[in-house]
């Protein structure tokens, strides 16, 4: 498989601040490549450089084997960007929006019509040609935002958090469309704050932190990085009583999170400390409902590697 995108030693500085730090990366044809990182990790900045919106401070980007700085038009025509922030005209109909943006890629006449209709159909707005986005729900706007990026059939589609703040139904629709686009031969770069999404659809994942890629691989490969840890999930009745600090004192315990009546503890695999943990919880008068030992998931991988939660 050839590389659709290749990034070498990419750096972007804003003044003294280093937003992207000597990043190297290759995305292969046919992949759905997940870009995972907390707020401010540098995902959008990287994407903006790939889509020629930002000049890199250092480093190179090749698209389909051609340097994008030297072949800007070629690169731009082969990429479709779904920006993080909605970029659609509220005072133009859904059809006009898609048709206008597709036209910028040189499509005209019958072909333009076909592709526009197709793209709208694809995101489930086939019956909304004449509607204005100002009357759309958040999810519909997001879908239109996607349609505007795909009508010209780019080789590489970059989606920057396309599911932010929308209803589950629209989200499913979008995730399915991503898979369909991929089946049709598009290579996709997908960033998200939602671990489940990335875990569900991405074939390969890079974890970005402070502008650097700190881990890269398939889900399995990433999880294998932390075989030396285990996750203990303990269901409790009330979160009020739990003293996180005293749990952290227990030998082997690395991180403790409490969420939805669940105490999630990441601990060294070789230390047998389950008894101690449960005793501590009982001492805190927690009513224990369930105890599970989990294989590490991506969330733990992320937390272990970056020391922070994906979402704040």
């Amino acid at each position: 498989m050839s590389n659709v995108l290749e990034i070498r030693n990419l750096t972007k500085k804003f003044g003294d601040f280093i937003a992207v730090d000597n990043m190297s990366l290759a995305v292969r044809e046919g992949e759905i490549f997940g870009f995972l990182g907390a707020n401010g990790a540098g995902k959008s900045t990287t994407i903006n450089m790939i889509s020629s919106l930002l000049r890199s401070t250092k480093g190179e980007i090749d698209l389909l084997g051609k340097n994008i700085a030297k072949n800007a038009k070629f690169a731009k025509s082969n990429i479709g960007v779904v920006p993080q922030d909605l970029a659609i005209y509220e005072d133009m109909t859904a059809y006009e929006n898609v048709s206008f943006f597709a036209g910028l890629y040189g499509l005209r006449g019958e072909q333009l019509k076909e592709r526009t209709v197709e793209a709208l159909e694809f995101v489930g707005l086939g019956d909304k040609h004449k509607a204005y986005p100002k009357n759309f729900s958040g999810g519909m706007k997001r879908r239109l935002n996607i349609a505007c990026a795909i009508a010209h059939r780019p080789k590489l589609i970059i989606m920057d958090e396309p599911t932010v703040g929308i209803d589950p139904q629209s989200r499913n629709y979008i995730l399915n469309s991503v898979r369909k686009l991929n089946d049709m031969g598009c290579t996709i770069i997908y960033t998200s704050h939602y671990m489940e999404e990335v875990e569900e659809i991405c074939t390969r994942i890079a974890i970005v932190d402070h502008g650097k890629i700190i881990a890269e691989g398939t889900k399995e490969q990433l999880k294998a990085i932390i075989t030396d840890t285990k996750d203990i999930w303990i269901g409790i009745k009330s979160e009020d009583e739990i003293k996180v600090e005293s749990l952290k004192q227990i030998p082997g315990v690395a991180t403790v999170r409490i969420e939805d009546q669940m105490v999630m503890i990441n601990s060294k695999a070789e230390v047998n400390n389950l008894n101690q943990i449960i005793q501590q919880l009982i001492r805190d008068r927690a009513e224990i409902r369930s105890v599970e030992e989990q294989a590490p998931n991506l969330e733990t991988v992320f937390l272990t590697l970056t020391g922070r939660n994906l979402r704040d």
Partner: protein, 382 residues
């Protein structure tokens, strides 16, 4: 090229889809013409009422003189007797009265017109026009009579020729009054003020695209920032041409104000000014970060400078200091050019004015481009 047209088409479409745009971009300049007419057009709105007493009977030359007056634009004549003339003038039913005494025709044919009186109660300015036209006419007929030295046949021939031509030119000479000049000046003053405002409005679309993020999407397509700005300038030019043509058309064909300047020349200078207006808008947009600040900035710049340059009222009433300041404003140079053209200066001799207008356009554009370039570090900005 194709790209640019695609962008231009979209901008024009979504702009003129809104009804308010038609009012702002095309309606306002026309309203400007209308307002100018109301300000200066008392004369134009109502015809001059002229009462005529003919005590000279069927004399051909007298009848012709009366016809000549009747032929003047904006004049309505009524034939009456001495009594009515006096009372109607006193009652304000007439603006002017003219009395042709017995033997007037004969004296005119002899080259020494006598016994014609022009009366009025209103200020001299109202009657001056009729009086001047009549004097001119009579003077010419008299000089024909003198030149033929009693040769009746020669007189008839020359007189007939003169009559043909003088009746034709009368309409044109009429327009050459200060009223019409004022109206033209004022209409064009409003027009260029509106041109400036609408140009800022259109150029602000660049900022609006940035604000709603579509600008980034545009730039991630094969379109470059330069192409995009160029398309905006083209839209601007298009709208300005429409404004100019619509205004001049309405002035001439609907309101019958003849600027006294060949249309081609007038369009050329207005277009030159339009370029300066567009460059100024680019400059404003280059320095403003949001549409709100661009709007504020343009109000701060456009309104006062239009005022100082005399777009809203004639320069004559301004103090000298203001006149000097206005030398630094493009509006002044446009109005100055119009003024000079109206006073018969040849277009070719006004190259200094034209060059200054062009220089304004170039200077504004260069600063704007420089400023855009500074923003260009991130390519996110034009």
């Amino acid at each position: 090229m194709n790209e640019i047209l695609w962008l231009v088409r979209k901008t024009l479409r979504s702009t003129f889809r809104k009804k308010s745009s038609w009012l702002v971009f095309i309606g306002l300049p026309l309203i400007g013409v209308l307002v100018s007419m109301l300000l200066y057009g008392s004369f134009n709105g109502q015809p001059l009422r002229v009462g005529i007493v003919n005590a000279d009977g069927d004399q051909a030359l007298t009848q012709d003189a009366i016809q000549f007056i009747q032929g003047l634009d904006q004049v309505k004549i009524t034939l009456m007797d001495d009594e009515t003339l006096r009372s109607d003038i006193a009652a304000g039913k007439l603006d002017t009265g003219i009395r042709f005494g017995a033997g007037f025709g004969e004296s005119l044919g002899a080259g020494r017109p006598a016994d014609v009186q022009v009366l009025s109660v209103k200020g001299a300015s109202v009657t001056a026009y009729v009086k001047a036209m009549l004097n001119d006419y009579l003077g010419n007929v008299a000089s024909i009579a003198q030149s033929v030295q009693g040769d009746k046949a020669a007189f008839d021939r020359l007189y007939e020729a003169y009559r043909q031509s003088s009746f034709k030119v009368s309409a044109e000479t009429l327009e050459d009054t200060s009223h019409v000049k004022d109206m033209t000046y004022q209409s064009l003053g409003f027009l260029i003020a509106f041109m400036m405002f609408s140009s800022v409005n259109l150029t602000e679309l660049i900022l609006k695209e940035k604000e709603n993020r579509t600008f980034l999407r545009l730039l991630s397509s094969p379109v470059s920032a330069r192409t995009y700005v160029l398309s905006n300038v083209l839209v601007n030019l298009f709208v300005i041409v429409i404004q100019i043509v619509a205004t001049l058309f309405f002035m001439k064909n609907v309101f019958h104000i003849d600027s006294g300047i060949p249309t081609g020349e007038l369009i050329t200078v207005l277009l030159l000014f339009g370029l300066a207006a567009i460059s100024l808008s680019l400059l404003i947009v280059a320095f403003a970060k949001t549409t709100a600040s661009a709007g504020a900035l343009s109000n701060l710049i456009v309104t006062p400078t239009c005022l100082l340059a005399g777009c809203y009222f004639p320069m004559d009433i301004m103090p000298d200091a203001v006149k000097r300041i206005s030398n630094f404003l493009p509006q002044h140079w446009l109005l100055d050019t119009v003024n000079k053209l109206q006073h018969g200066e040849a277009f070719g001799s006004l190259y200094l004015n034209l060059a200054i207008l062009l220089a304004f356009a170039a200077a504004f554009a260069l600063i704007a481009i420089y400023r855009f370039g500074r923003n260009n570090d991130t390519r996110l900005f034009v």
